[in-house]
Symmetry: D2
Amino acid sequence: MVGYKFMGKAHSHAYKDVGMFFEPAADVVMKAICGRDEQGVKDAANKFGWESYETDWRKMVARDDIDFVDINAPSDAHKEITLAAIAAGKHVFCEKPLALNLADGREMLAAAEKAGVKHAVCFNYRFLPAVQLAKQIIDEGRLGEIHHYRATYLQDWLVDPNTPLAWRLKKEVAGSGAHGDINAHSIDLARFLIGEFDRVVGHSRTFVKERPILTGSAGLSGTGSSTEKGEVTVDDATGFIADFKNGAMGMFVASRFAAGRKNHNTFEIHGSKGSIRWDLEKLNELEVYFREDEPNLAGFRRILATEPSHKYAGNWWPTGHIIGYEHAFVHIVYEFVQHIATGSPFAPTFYDGVKCQEVLEAVDLSIERGAWVGIEEV
Amino acid sequence: MVGYKFMGKAHSHAYKDVGMFFEPAADVVMKAICGRDEQGVKDAANKFGWESYETDWRKMVARDDIDFVDINAPSDAHKEITLAAIAAGKHVFCEKPLALNLADGREMLAAAEKAGVKHAVCFNYRFLPAVQLAKQIIDEGRLGEIHHYRATYLQDWLVDPNTPLAWRLKKEVAGSGAHGDINAHSIDLARFLIGEFDRVVGHSRTFVKERPILTGSAGLSGTGSSTEKGEVTVDDATGFIADFKNGAMGMFVASRFAAGRKNHNTFEIHGSKGSIRWDLEKLNELEVYFREDEPNLAGFRRILATEPSHKYAGNWWPTGHIIGYEHAFVHIVYEFVQHIATGSPFAPTFYDGVKCQEVLEAVDLSIERGAWVGIEEV
Amino acid sequence: MVGYKFMGKAHSHAYKDVGMFFEPAADVVMKAICGRDEQGVKDAANKFGWESYETDWRKMVARDDIDFVDINAPSDAHKEITLAAIAAGKHVFCEKPLALNLADGREMLAAAEKAGVKHAVCFNYRFLPAVQLAKQIIDEGRLGEIHHYRATYLQDWLVDPNTPLAWRLKKEVAGSGAHGDINAHSIDLARFLIGEFDRVVGHSRTFVKERPILTGSAGLSGTGSSTEKGEVTVDDATGFIADFKNGAMGMFVASRFAAGRKNHNTFEIHGSKGSIRWDLEKLNELEVYFREDEPNLAGFRRILATEPSHKYAGNWWPTGHIIGYEHAFVHIVYEFVQHIATGSPFAPTFYDGVKCQEVLEAVDLSIERGAWVGIEEV
Amino acid sequence: MVGYKFMGKAHSHAYKDVGMFFEPAADVVMKAICGRDEQGVKDAANKFGWESYETDWRKMVARDDIDFVDINAPSDAHKEITLAAIAAGKHVFCEKPLALNLADGREMLAAAEKAGVKHAVCFNYRFLPAVQLAKQIIDEGRLGEIHHYRATYLQDWLVDPNTPLAWRLKKEVAGSGAHGDINAHSIDLARFLIGEFDRVVGHSRTFVKERPILTGSAGLSGTGSSTEKGEVTVDDATGFIADFKNGAMGMFVASRFAAGRKNHNTFEIHGSKGSIRWDLEKLNELEVYFREDEPNLAGFRRILATEPSHKYAGNWWPTGHIIGYEHAFVHIVYEFVQHIATGSPFAPTFYDGVKCQEVLEAVDLSIERGAWVGIEEV
């Protein structure tokens, strides 16, 4: 694994837990974790349970005892490490965004396909029981024809102008701001649930243009800051409307300036037979409305997706005992390991990473043009 | 009053109740109600408590004992009746939309201003205690600089393809579909709460193109239908994104195809100091988040706007005893009567009707063009 | 009508509105309102739309042009006025509590039955659409055998020790505190929904023993107060557990000391086939769970009881347009007028007032004894 | 550790995770797990990450390489194993209920105190961030004087009469039903949050008297069942009211028959200055009302207890990323390890187990007597 901060911790935990709650077809052995700062990565290796550590990812990627590389370093490093891992014949599990731009993403996809390695992008929210239930309901046709898809992904960690200039706020490292970081999740969920985008038009803002320069880094926002200020080069918020190939109308907004919304990743879907609503802050719940219910008894049902009949839920605790954020990583890791070991179907792969990137860039282009942009134009 | 169906009932009730719960500066006397069908309007006069009835609005508008005309006939009749009432020197209270198009609306506004009569457009939702509280919080600067405004107005009475072709679905009578009928409310609330629109871009759909022709009419959807079908000439749903003059990002969607959402008129506003959320289906409640709250105790507050300190609430029942949909009409009637009798400030006037119409038409134009349209372009 | 304060206003409004939204089998004519203070009652007559007023209830009760007397004076006056009205052959609609004690209540019931007049106790909450829906679901057996019934009726208007000593806080006028005032509603709803009580055991508190003496009176808490203090002679809160005849377990609490709960009249019922939850602060909503739903799709449904198929709802506004607190009075008045005019079945009558009083007194007795008390013991 | 089923899994996971997310003052080494079925315990050891396994708890308790024993075997085994572990000088972490009865619990407490070993009862819910926040708010006096405490612990896994006769339904193994299993949690939280009980009176039910005999066991309800039936010897539901030493009124109900309530462990507390509400199904949230808020802006705040300022939350993920059920075990294990290693204060100990048992037994006695029972009477 390359990376040992927020995502490194979440991924490590998944490798640690997967064998306890699932029966993967192959043993997961936590061989090595890699980071540039020796003390930091050594501590992480100890704390997170890795057998060894490396400070040079090239060395790690070259190790014979490693079959599968997990890349959760900052976004600008994804491409180089991924290509090297593929070249070394490793399977690759890459954090989103797959790449800083579409061209890079396509190159990575082509390389992976050519090499015949297994590849995944960590759109982890697909793997929550409530989201899986939404998928099942839609696939069974129980919402009918889809008319509307609306998503928000709202956070508020930047609304304070003194929040420092973390790497996620620098275009050269992160590629994009709220758009690439969190709209990416919403776009992937929309593709997963109702299908491909046709065209988009959007707008964006950087509400606070300069922020204190950061002196350390950890979590989402880093730690320590100086009185000196640097320029924010990514968007604080991006919204867009969309038409889907299937005729549905879409509406998306990602913001790090939504006071009081901490991790408000939501979708609401209306079809000819019913509706669905979900919110990551209550990730175990799915609200579902069926028009086929008796008219005087129809209403949004609050389903607690903790029943044995809910995918993955039965692997954890008895009904009503909720799971948390990190569990989605356990599930995606489980599915990817199955995919590697048994060839079972798996998505999201790099293909999905590329398709997501197409939508992201079409939105950016629409902002430049002030007009709708077809996805096939990017 | 001209009109005696859904809105006729709601307005009549307001005139009946206003003197019981408020102390208007002038007595409200319910002189005459007018409609084309004699039996229908006669029954309505009896049932709703009007002293007399007319079948020709021209006669009613000419009566000397009438100072003030309320127009809630279908939208295509608004202009003609309004101009006649103004010409007769009456004050006019007109249902929204003010007119079928912007040019008509501007003509009506100019006529009213020239004649010096008082004029109002019935954007009733401004007058709910929770919405008034939202306005007060924003005006006091307690949300700070506004970054985001999102509104939905969702209903589902058309999702059934057998719902008949009511007048609201014919462009020549209604002017517009969900956009003019319910986005209009959302646009007015946005203007009321955070100010003017700068530019917009949207999309719309008519999901069901033909519907059974209606043989009667009442409520929202009419009664009775034939096997013959007619063409739906308005939108079932319209969504758009907006930039506001103050820099805020806006997002709006109106739909009559949102299964399970019955009257889901909502707004969510994020500012640099806090956020607000409201939903008409829970119209007595306002959710408010203040960043100034202690960090470990900050959270969205569910405020029940039934305290004596909440505008209008004290005129009704003790705290915790909620009010319903029709109360907003009592409040707007009260304020307009005060305006006529005492010259107290009043909005929304025809000016607000026109400003709302501008946004509606700019969205329509953006749909034609596939690109952003500035409000000043219409 | 006798009484013109909070309840007088709510009842007057119901008489005024009933003919507009319903088709009662007899015309409702608002003949006379009665109160001791001439100016006050005269103003109320004008404001509320009564044809005349009286300052002596004896005179009013004797008037030939009156068929039906509504009594909403303070509780200590109920008995005397009711008995006089019955003696004069009038139908009687009495606010709850029916009487200050069980013996009085029984005397009133016997007198009404003997005289053959129609009688009602104003347990208005039975007549809300969502509560009617709960009743229908239970009567159709869709909850199965009832196992649990829990109710709260929580307010917070006394938690401030400076709230003055209103008549509702004096035992000689009110008979009881939170117990008789608001537990009474919960007891009536429980009897309405699941049947008779078998035995009870409770506890109560008067948290603030002395309060400022009141100099005026209006609403729940009166207006104006002096620095002098008087003793609170009723309970601030009473809770009890109950066994029902049908084997269900019950739990009830009424308090005027529940900070933040304004009118939190709730019930939650669990049966062998499903559950129901309701809250007066969201009176248009009913939450319902059916075990027969598919296991992975079962969840509490939030039903908005504003559909035409919901009792009374269709008489008001289109779906999704909520009603408020006072509408329940319109509905009970409608049903009682039907009962008088056509002999249609009606409850709650004085019988229900007596049955409720039995439970209230059994709880009081259980508090004295420190042990369970059977309802038949009082 | 003794026990390897539901609780065994939850505890194992806690030992595995504690070092990754916290910095315990002593290393936690997972030496051995013990169970009677060799294959089962061997598999569990592998899956859960234990170094070795034992089939005889006596052998395990005697091992020199073990300092600390975790007992989560069925309740009837707690006493014997605990006493042996204490005798061997081990620190003991025991699942609740501490013992089958009060006398046994007292004996265990006395033994532990005499031996000077550290002891804990696994009332894990104390250790959730939202519950810790509730505690902090109360301890800081921000609710003022406490007037009301109401708790529910509702599940529905027994409402189906075909749910088999698991060990939790046999008095000789479990000691008690819903009362001892889940009211115990509510009693402990009440003691933790507002203090000691003074007296109680309750009632209980066994709604389904006979159930299919179980042929396997796992999770809450076991697996596999025969057509033969056995008698249920514990309560399905127990409710009671309570007076607290501090004058507060209490109300408690535990049921496994509350259709649709999966793990509805809730409390609501009203004080002279504010109120708090919590629900385990939304365990990351705390609802808080402060009377000191401006009157027109007061409302229940929904606080998402995932901020760095919320106890334990900062050890996991960034704000808004929720945790799940099992995290509470990580926290209690962390605190107990700190207690052993550094002598830091710790509760709940066996003392709290005994105090909880006193209340449970006082309720049972009150049911026998049909009257209030003082806690000091048991």
